[in-house]
């Protein structure tokens, strides 16, 4: 799995290193369990508590097993939109008078529906559209007077919270921040409250905010423009091909009701994992979790993603004419994170692009000097479903995408034809272990990893097992997986082709 740094407690890691060969494995899990407590509430919400009393603070991550992969046309961007709404408060947070506010919120919905119905008519009456839009905006202003702006964030802030934020990807939504450790009860209240009864106030204004986010990240950045086209080309059936932020027309159309429906379907306790890392004690915090998170009803398990990406039959190509400088990317379909070959892809990623000894750096940046950066990445755009192994590079001035393509292909062919060296394989394994140790020094990073592994594999221990899995990767595995994966018909290419300055051809007035 990409990004996920592996983890294991300090003492154990030290042991792994002192006792060569590094074969410490399953037998050490009981030791690990002393620091980690897993607690699942009756409603299905799973908590992972890791005691790390370094400073009187703690971090948490709430991982929801939902992302843009759960969206269908018409509501693309909804997982991300809900993530924004989870900061808008509850009947107790963010309002001056919820009973009155609720009535006005219903009026906002009705006014929006009326406006929307008119503007979607085959031949809408422009005057009517305008007046209905005004009526809708007016009633939003009416609702505004009941709102205590951003009270949820304000409470976290005022109580000393740091790093309050959230993120949505193609297959997950994560909420996180850190607080001083004497405020665990306040945290449990706030975190359960926001998912127990979120109030979608300011929905349509926040929709505008999200549209600005789309303009910022996707429309006004060359890489954003390329990746949207590239990803759409790589998947013809699976929702991984959809943009996480959503299509503009959907952002302009989906309703508060759509958001409610999405929330009710996917924000059920059995679909959520929260990890708490830092200066906490499991015995003390579990009753608090029971009290607050236990308030949330059980709910039905969410429906699975039915669509499976069919095998690719032909190479696909995206050439984006763009005023910016060239960028080259290519991607190959591969299995989900739970596929047994996943550690092999991690090893390939490491050999190809980790550091200045990596093959792509040495070939493209150091020797050929045709690129200023080259990177391999396994698990794009997500890893819970079959996904892509991608390679991309930034050409040096004066060098072309075609040169980059040829150099990347040469490295992939090498992986297919020859076994990697002993030194390279040893380096992969050493670095995997060191990365794991380095990942242990941050509450926030640990919380993120624990919750993610628990969600993806159903067991946080897989974090630890991962080191062993990397350790078992052989040269033959790498060659086999390279031969299975890096084939022409399994490939999608995406590139920015710099548009020649307009009008360049007719440069010649006199001669």
């Amino acid at each position: 799995m990409k990004r996920h740094v592996l983890l294991v407690p300090a003492a154990l890691v030290a042991a792994v290193f002192l006792l060569a060969p590094p074969s410490a494995g399953a037998q050490d899990i009981p030791q690990l369990e002393k620091k980690v407590t897993v607690h699942t509430l009756a409603n299905g919400w799973t908590f992972i508590i890791y005691e790390r009393p370094v400073a009187p603070v703690f971090s948490f991550a709430t991982h929801v097993n939902v992302g843009s992969a759960q969206e269908v046309p018409g509501i693309t961007g909804m997982a991300h939109m809900f993530e924004h709404m989870a900061f808008k408060g509850t009947p107790h947070i963010g309002t001056r008078d919820f009973e009155k506010e609720k009535q006005v919120l219903d009026k906002v919905d009705r006014a929006y529906m009326a406006f929307d119905a008119e503007r979607r008519k085959p031949s809408p009456d422009p005057e009517k559209v305008k007046s209905l839009e005004k009526a809708w905006k007016d009633v939003q202003e009416e609702a505004d007077q009941f709102i205590v702006k951003n009270e949820f964030g304000e409470i976290v802030d005022r109580e000393g919270g740091v790093g309050l934020n959230a993120g949505t990807s193609a297959d997950s939504t994560v909420y996180f921040y850190s607080l001083p450790s004497n405020k665990t009860e306040l945290w449990a209240y706030l975190e359960s409250e926001r998912f127990l009864n979120p109030v979608f106030r300011e929905f349509y204004k926040e929709r505008d905010v999200v549209k600005e986010e789309r303009r910022l990240r996707t429309e006004s950045q060359p890489l954003g423009r390329l990746l949207e086209q590239f990803t759409a080309a790589a998947f013809i059936a699976h929702p991984f091909g959809q943009p996480v932020v959503g299509h503009m027309s959907d952002l302009d159309s989906f309703t508060r009701e759509d958001a409610e429906r999405f929330y009710k379907t996917y924000y059920v306790p059995s679909n959520m994992v929260t990890s708490v890392v830092g200066d906490v004690k499991a015995a003390e915090i579990i009753p608090v979790l029971e009290k607050y998170f236990g308030r949330i009803p059980k709910g039905d398990p969410p429906p699975p993603v039915r669509t499976v990406e069919p095998p690719q039959k032909s190479e696909r190509m995206v050439k984006l004419p763009d005023p910016s400088q060239p960028i080259y990317a290519e991607g190959y379909h591969k299995g989900a994170a739970t596929h047994p070959d996943e550690p092999v892809f991690d090893a390939i990623t490491d050999v190809l692009s980790n550091g200045r000894t990596s093959r792509l750096y040495r070939s493209l940046v150091r020797d050929k000097q045709i690129a200023v950066a080259a990177q391999a990445l396994s698990g794009y755009p997500g890893d819970r479903y079959p996904n892509l192994f991608i390679l991309f590079a930034v050409p040096s001035p004066g060098h072309t995408n075609e040169e980059i393509r040829d150099a990347i292909r040469a490295e992939l062919e090498r992986l297919k034809k020859e076994e990697i060296s002993d030194d390279e394989l040893a380096m992969v394994k050493t670095r995997a272990k060191a990365a794991l140790i380095r990942s242990l020094d941050s509450n926030g990073g640990l919380a993120m990893n624990l919750a993610e592994y628990q969600t993806v594999f159903g067991d946080w221990r897989e974090l630890f097992n991962w080191v062993e899995k990397i350790d078992k990767v052989t040269k033959a595995d790498i060659r086999r997986v390279a031969n299975e994966t890096f084939v022409d018909t399994n490939r999608t290419v995406g590139m920015i082709e710099t548009q020649a300055a307009q009008g360049r051809p007719a440069d010649q007035p006199g001669q």
Binding site: L190, D441, T498, P509
Partner: protein
Amino acid sequence: MTHRHRTITASFAGAVLAAAIASALPAAAQVKDHRQIQHPPMRPFSVPEPERITLPNGMVVMLMEDHELPLIEAFARIRTGTRLDPPGKAGLGTIFGQVLRTGGTRRMTGDQLDDFLESRAAEIETGVGPDSGFANMSCLSQDFPEVAKVFAEILREPVFAEDKITIAKTAVRAGIARRNDNPQQIVFREFNKLIYGDSSPYAVVPEYATVDAITRDDLVAHHRKHVQPNRIILGVVGDFSAKQMAATLRDLFKDWPKGPAAGDPAAAIQAKVSPGIRWIQKEDMTQSNIVMGHLGIQRDNPDFFAVEVLNETYGGSFAARLFSNVRSRKGLAYTVNGGVRANYDYPGTFNTFMTTKTETTAAGLDALLEEIDAIVKNPPSEAEIKRAKESILNSFVFNFASRSQILNQQITYAYFGFPADYLARYRENIEKVSAADVARAAARYVHKDQLAILVVGPSKGHDRPLESFGKVTRLDISIPEPKAAAAPAATKESVARGRALLDKIVSGLGGAAAVDAVKATRITSSMTAKTPQGEMNLKVVATVSLPDRLRQELDTPMGRMVTVLAGQDGFMVMPGMAGAQPLPDSRRADMARSLRRQALVLAQHRADASLKVQHAGTEGVDGTQAEILLAALGEDEVRLWVDPASGRVLRQAYRGQGPAGPAEFTVRYSDFRQVAGLTLPHKNETLLDGEVQQSAVVERIEVNPPVDAALFAKPESAPASGDGKR
């Protein structure tokens, strides 16, 4: 050696004094309001402090044991900075910072270093920022002795190998070529220039010419001058005994003698911001990026703490005014932030930034100006101040979340000459801030009448013209092209031979009288051009009205595209788009240059003092031994290959902006025919880096055709909004 610990429990508990009640949970009581929840006091926690040593050679060392993980990290802060880059060598610090590590040492090449470190999963990285340099190291504690040795060698004996300098320069050049691709990079780079001044070391950026000017000798000299033990503060944190570590470091650096006393020039700031609105055209965006502000403060300013509280209420959080009003209430932006920024030893900026869709550019500007006005006229209330102070004080403990964080803070304070207890005093100083202090700080450091405002974005679709905010100045951010390989120094002889060759061109064209009679030309040709969509056949009509007007009409499969240069102005009419668009500055400059390198134009300027020529040897061109003329009318150099027998220009070459950055263009001319007493080529081919990009066959050349002035006038239908040049 023992660590001194400072107990801070009591003061942390200060903010929650009243709530010192244990959290026995009343299971039945359902919490409806967060205010019902009481917090237990924070547990006793002592902040570890680093052990400080000064080595005999002046190096300051700070050590901090941390036995949680089997790792050791080192952080060296070096007294240098990109602000010391000499004029004409912008980029020196950046390249130095990279090659210090990648270029290898006397004992190991850069590649050997990479192998050595990465096989141990160890890391050493170096770099230079505006006000300091760094060399950082991280390794497993078992590898420390050998990795530390390498670390010391990198600091003491780097060799700056030429091949790694080349790689570093390529990276900087790529950065230059790509620096206008990302809107936010543009907006902050150009804003810094407005605030600190174009040539300020805090605003200047590398250019192709400044990178070309940097040599290995410069890096060696920079190292000798700045990387000296008495200019380094070294912090080490991790799994070691401080006593042993002190001995190891003494040993490692004992034979490194103290360097010369520091004598760094103070980096001046030419702080004469001219208020007003600036606009940078960028069409591949659906938003405008807006930033406004002026000079900020330095961290040693006694009002710094009041400013911290001010910032928290203004733009520092979810509950701050900018986020609440501009984002949540108005839905105008995803990104909006701002504050009076402080640097340690030079002023920061007061800035306020947002991105908003093109259609709400003016609404966004209004919203930011309103907030800037309000923060002074309607300064933060007691409630806002209370919230801001609680937020700062309650999160204070996060300054001590890890030992490497604590160590790095101490290194920073020591580097800039701040007292070691600065952070402890920070807390007290924040507590003392009153509403009146904040109001005074707002009035003192926020000036609505002195704002430099910068907008980056598309030219069309604004809700109101930018002119409604004041006179708009359009900024040219086109990337200066690198100079061609330096021409051989002109000698009397080469200049004289150049003049003679120019005279041959004049007679080759048809003689002085025919040349000087040309006031205008119109050339109709059919052209084949390579484009990203494949080969394209185009009909081209180019009308020139000397000296500085040029109209090109291209009939493309998509429709007619018109590009017009009219002196300092220019516009384009694109197929499928209504109205005319302003010509980007880079394109306008390009067209003007294309005029100034024409043989006919050079010939007309033969007596002009701004035309520099020299003879530059001979070379075979398709079987003809051509003589080479280097000519520059103003700044724009061109190389002409001239058939000495006929005076015909067979080929020309120049540096220009290619699709992937600066490139060498060559044009080959052939099929010379007589037109109105002139001999002109009727075929040409343009090559980019040696590959044919386009070829043209001239169908008709008209000399001095009637030229309607309207050809160079912008169509009336062009929407006015947003064209900052009006």
